[in-house]
């Protein structure tokens, strides 16, 4: 007996939650977010609308997913209200020894999304091509890599084949006003441009139900390599140096000169033209010479 086709599963719509006006405590470096100033990008809104349209044509469900703290559910509730059948929030935790608080890498987010897609049996993923914080835009590509899926990135239009669930034509911009046409079959990961579809106004029943609907929370580790930035999430504090005070018997002018270092001969600024590797070595050498690397924390 031939194996039955499991079908493409629900359309998974990934939505990036961003707080446009987070507050940073200048003393502790702690970042606090506010659901009132956060949301999803226009491209993510368009992706949700395309997801709902495709799902409507093929008679499948839509699963909205985001990665972030509980406040990030602010981008899932409107998706539920608009017609998504389920919502998942991925709580990304940092593995021990990792930098807490830094943004997880695109690869880490993609592998967490891939996990949700596999669990839900989804072979169709839609994202916006640009997030509100103008991130790297690399998540869809990493996700396609993780899922071994076809990629259609930066799309401007999608045309589902009503007879073959999961199959669609897709268009994206090329230079000179030309378009590239793609034919996609599941599994695929697509990202769409903002403004290509306007998110429908949710029905009242959907809005009322969305406020009470459960959001599934899954925990995933940011297992990918640590992002290069930020190297440290606390506030920058220069190292303390022990300075010997000026000679107390000197007059006020000399004490101020000694304290400020004015009129003292110093190494003039140096401009060097070096390759990246040599440049890094030279910077480390200078830091070492100035006593800024006492414990040699940086390899």
């Amino acid at each position: 007996m031939a194996p039955t086709d499991p079908g493409p599963g629900p359309v998974l719509v990934a939505r990036k939650w961003v707080d446009r006006r987070p507050t940073v405590d200048l003393l502790t470096g702690e970042v606090s977010t506010d659901p009132r100033s956060s949301g999803a990008s226009e491209a993510d809104e368009a992706a949700l609308e395309w997801g709902l349209r495709l799902a409507g044509v093929w008679g499948v469900g839509v699963l909205a997913v985001t990665a972030g703290p509980p406040d990030a559910e602010a981008v899932l509730r409107p998706a539920l209200a608009a017609g998504a059948g389920g919502a998942v929030r991925i709580d990304l935790t940092s593995p021990p020894g990792h930098l807490a608080g830094g943004a997880p890498s695109s690869r880490a987010v993609a592998s967490a999304l891939a996990l949700v897609a596999r669990t839900a049996g989804s072979r169709m993923v839609l994202c916006g091509d640009l997030s509100l914080d103008r991130g790297s835009g690399a998540v869809p590509a990493f996700l396609a890599g993780e899922l071994g899926a076809a990629q259609g990135l930066g799309l401007v239009s999608l045309a589902p084949d009503p007879d073959r669930p999961g199959h669609l034509g897709a268009w994206r911009r090329l230079d000179g006003g030309r378009r590239e046409e793609l034919a996609l079959a599941p599994p695929w990961v697509c990202s769409v441009e903002g403004g290509t579809a306007r998110l429908r106004r949710a029905e009242l029943a959907g809005v009322l139900a969305a406020g009470r609907a459960p959001v599934e929370v899954v925990t995933a580790e940011t297992s990918g390599p640590a992002p290069p930035h930020p190297a440290r999430t606390g506030p920058g504090r220069p190292r303390t140096h022990l300075l010997t005070g000026p000679d107390p018997t000197a007059d006020a002018r000399h004490r101020i000169l000694a304290l400020t270092g004015a009129l003292v001969e110093r190494t003039p600024p140096l401009t060097l033209t070096l390759g990246p590797g040599e440049g890094a070595d030279r910077i480390l050498e200078a830091l070492r010479a100035w006593g800024e690397l006492p414990g040699e924390e940086f390899p």
Binding site: A202, L204, A205, V207, L208, R212
Partner: protein, 435 residues
């Protein structure tokens, strides 16, 4: 019909959230509709809340309410272009629990209060505007609301309209007669950012303390008044302008604010402030004389929707009146739902509740205040007269001997074009109003 609730509350301002909180706590199913993206997003006011009305509803509210500063300094100023007279009161008592007034941002305060209603079980639907009523008084009563969403009808045994000034729902229910623009003022304000330390130095405040200045004579000849309040890192400076006079003057509200900010008394207090917000809103200034019927079959009206904002010159209190009336509406609704009588007569207890507490008691007592405060003499003659009188009393004109206060008053009244009989009558009227 999207869903049926015991009660639909329209508007998640202070009135609506207070009503929804009372009902949800009592176990009723409540839907709280808000047209803005979140409660408070659409709402503006001057800046001072008197939240003692919350004592019974949210014990120790001061430990969690999103307050900017506790008002410990309250000043009433009379300004002319070049003079000012200020009655300035300060007390440390207002800086300690249970406090008196607090400056707060409405997007913070309203969202906090609505959050309490949601915690208690109310269903909040934002970005949803009620566009009309289902049913009508006398024809089986009001049975819910229509909204601007697809499939947007919500059924309810009772509707509480808390949709603010110029309530379209109250009008549709026939609760209001024809609107009279003389009963409305336009409030406009600028929020100016300044470092906390600068605000504290300029206004003479400690870290969490705030100041509240009410000002007469700063509105470029348009009847109204001004205000200046301190938040943690901003000050709110604005004006309240009598609508028909503003229209007749052909002046823009922001021009009037600009001239107030340029006044030599105000300028040093706001200097260097960076404009972070400009907003404007109507105020149902008429108070008692514009009070509508407060109920219809299947409907109660609370807060500004029922014109319950108290605008009585030295007092501009709306948020506490909104909360007080919202709570009373919630309690009345509970009673009516339990007795099964939501007709207008079944809701008559609402007015009694409001008369039995500060809401209608204060309105009744101060019913002459809006008219007095917006009168020609108070607005256009007395500020100059009072400042001139004060200046004359404190100007030493030796070798001339000092004149008595009455002599100065006679001279300055004549200069201001005020007859002594009018002055006496206005004084008596002020005593009757505020006494």
């Amino acid at each position: 019909m999207a869903e049926e609730f015991d009660v639909v509350v329209v508007g998640a301002g202070p009135a609506g959230s207070a009503a929804a909180l009372v009902l949800a706590r009592a176990g009723k199913s409540v839907c709280l509709l808000e047209r803005g993206p979140f409660p408070g997003s659409k709402n503006m006011y001057g800046g001072v809340i008197y939240p003692r009305i919350l004592d019974g509803l949210i014990p120790n509210w001061w430990e969690e309410a999103p307050v900017q500063r506790w008002v410990t300094r309250r000043a009433t100023m009379v300004l002319t272009g070049t003079q000012s007279l200020t009655v300035d009161y300060r007390t440390e008592a207002w800086g300690r629990p249970p406090y008196n007034g607090a400056t707060a941002y409405r997007p913070d305060f309203d969202a906090w209060l609505a959050g309490k209603a949601v915690e208690a079980g109310a269903v909040l639907a934002c970005e949803t505007t009620a566009t009309g009523l289902l049913g009508a008084p006398g024809k089986g009563g009001i049975r819910g609301v229509r909204t601007d969403r697809p499939g947007g009808e919500i059924g309810a045994r009772l509707v509480i309209a808390c949709d603010g000034v110029n309530s379209l729902l109250a009008k549709e229910a026939g609760i209001y007669g024809k609107a009279d623009p003389h009963h409305f003022t336009l409030g406009a304000k600028e929020t100016l950012a300044l470092p906390a330390r600068v605000i504290e130095e300029r206004f003479g405040l400690a870290e969490h303390e705030g100041a509240d200045f009410e000002i007469v004579g700063c509105t470029e000849g348009v009847a109204g008044g001004g205000f200046l309040y301190t938040n943690r890192e901003t000050v709110s400076v604005g004006v309240v302008l009598h609508l028909p006079e503003l229209a007749a003057s052909k002046k823009r509200p922001e021009e009037i604010i600009a001239s107030m900010k340029a006044n030599p008394v105000i300028a040093p207090l706001v200097a260097g402030g960076e404009l972070v917000e400009y907003s404007a809103h109507l105020i149902p200034e008429g108070g008692w004389v514009m009070l509508p019927g407060l109920v219809a079959d299947g409907m109660l009206v609370a807060g500004d929707a029922a014109a319950l904002c108290l605008a009585a010159g030295i007092w501009l209190e709306g948020v506490n009146f909104a909360i007080g009336s919202g709570m009373a509406a919630g309690e009345t609704a509970l009673e009516a739902l339990d007795s099964g009588n939501v007709s207008a007569p079944g809701l008559a207890g609402y007015r009694k509740r409001l008369e039995g507490n500060f809401v209608l008691a204060d309105h009744r007592k101060l019913r002459r205040a809006p008219h007095l405060m917006l009168s020609d003499r108070v607005q256009h003659r007395y500020p100059q007269m009072i400042c001139n009188l004060t200046e004359a009393m404190f100007t030493v004109t030796n070798p001339e001997p000092k004149k008595g206060i009455l002599a100065h008053t006679r001279i300055e009244a004549r200069r201001a074009g005020v007859r002594l009989g009018q002055l006496a009558r206005d004084t008596a009227s002020a005593l009757r109003t505020y006494g």
